[in-house]
Point group: C2
Chain length 299, copies 2
């Protein structure tokens, strides 16, 4: 079997970013951590950590960390059923990648249900739904909500349903920029609210409904915060694509209005995890599927 | 004077992350962009771009990009007062670093006022208030909301007031973990809601009120989303530090309750920008000061 003391040291260094912090976390000296990692590297015959600030895992190192997490999850299940078999091992932390809109809506239900039934901890990475699969591929996370329906090597993928987006802005903004209608010409001048450089939803919507003027480069604000994104549209800084479930209240109150009725953008969502994690993630997957079923549109 | 065609190309490459995207943005060929950057590098005698994916600026390159942004802002002011003097130059984008809690509360007011009075675009980086100053020092942003009151080299710093944080959790969570009171012993076992690895607010609060048990390592969830952070506390995943202004509604409804009354954590906030940007940021600074005055506690 693998050298699990070395693996624990490796995982702590990658998680904490330095040998010193890993040592504090494991209650040993930092030279002990260094030695354990070195021995593990010699045994597997590969460099596992890129020494720097912060220290990061090499591809092989990240793969081993993922393995360590899966083992910790299985140990935790074992402890739940047979408390006497295991002494006080640390509580496992699950690294997940989720898109911001899912986190603000249905994914919170899944987390609440999952954590209320156990002691596992969650460590979330927030990224665009088109980029979460990449983090899974690189072994940075053990599970991901993604828009990538195609097979991810070594992963199981489960369809969750569709998140429906609509284009919306404040009534004042609509008056100011779209008095002559929502057309390629007016859209070329109206500031677009953008989440980050990976956020292409606004462009996809304009493309889908043939609303892009040739050679136009509409002005863009960038606000990488979900709450900030909605609020910035409410105060009239720009128009943006919003999940309908997220802005129901704003639509009812009239602080946001739809740019074009009956022109939604439907984004199918998937849950994906490494095939090897199937057993350890079974309960989380059940929670994710149940919450998605309540919130998302069936495909 | 500097070679501004080269500077525009440099700024576009750093902003877009590649020569190809910069070329599309500037409506020229990518070899033209490459040539302009190369000429600029030869003139200043330094490498300005680290070719990679994405391309990033060297220290000197970032410093020149910051200069280009400041000139663009001044040009925009000039155009506002004398529209005829300038042909159709691109609208400037201000890169700002803001902590998530400021963005969710008072900073939105500042942005709304600033953008309603002009066409400038905003590009926000969200980071911990202890780390935004670093982004300013590195020339990544032109202005920052920061908790760093000490002088930042080459920058002007303005005190904004104090953001008051309180420790809060759901009533069910308090019942579950703090039935025996909020003590070092009970806090050692209760899951802490953490924004990201830079978030030390929970630890600062426990330290300030001597609530840390020796050698304890409380379990931690990580949810780097403001809205998600508050919601995760509401659904009972953990306890966390919240700005009082952000959770007024939750406290009134009772979905969140304070762990210990009259034990707040006060975090002084500052606005900082490069001294050289004083003229170009005058109006933004006014909007920031005015909004902070309405929301934050006076020091």
């Amino acid at each position: 079997m693998l050298d699990y003391a070395g693996l624990e040291a490796l995982a702590a260094v990658v998680r904490e970013g330095s040998f010193e912090r890993a040592a504090r976390r494991l209650h040993v000296t930092s030279s002990a951590v260094s030695q354990r990692v070195k021995q593990l590297e010699e045994r597997v015959g590969q460099v596992l950590i890129l020494r720097g600030s912060p220290c990061t895992g090499t591809d092989a190192g990240k793969r081993l960390c993922l393995h360590a997490e899966q083992v910790a999850l299985l140990e935790n299940e074992l402890r739940r059923s047979n408390p006497d078999l295991l002494s006080d091992t640390p509580i496992p932390t699950l690294k997940l990648a989720v898109n911001a809109d899912s986190l603000s809506t249905w994914f919170m239900d899944a987390m609440a249900e999952f954590t209320s039934g156990s002691n596992e901890l969650l460590d979330l990475r927030i990224d665009d739904q088109d980029h979460t699969a990449q983090r899974l591929k690189e072994g940075e996370v053990i599970g991901a909500v993604t828009a990538t329906g195609t097979t991810i090597t070594g992963c199981n993928t489960w369809p969750l349903g569709t998140m429906r987006y609509i284009a919306a802005a404040s009534p004042h903004f609509v008056e100011q920029y779209f008095a002559d209608g929502v057309t390629p010409a007016t859209l070329a001048l109206a500031p677009i609210m953008t989440y980050d450089r990976n956020d292409r939803l606004q462009d996809r919507w304009m493309n889908q409904y043939h609303l892009v003027a040739p050679r136009s480069a509409p002005p863009r604000h960038f606000i990488p915060s979900n709450y900030g994104y909605v609020r910035a549209c409410e105060v009239g800084m720009g128009w943006g694509m919003h999940p309908t479930v997220l802005i129901e209240q704003q639509l009812a109150l009239g602080s946001l209005v739809e740019l074009l009725p009956r022109k939604p953008l439907d984004v199918p969502m998937y849950w994906a995890h490494p095939r090897s994690a199937q057993a350890s993630l079974e309960r989380l997957t059940r929670c994710v599927m149940a919450a998605a079923k309540r919130w998302l549109e069936a495909v």
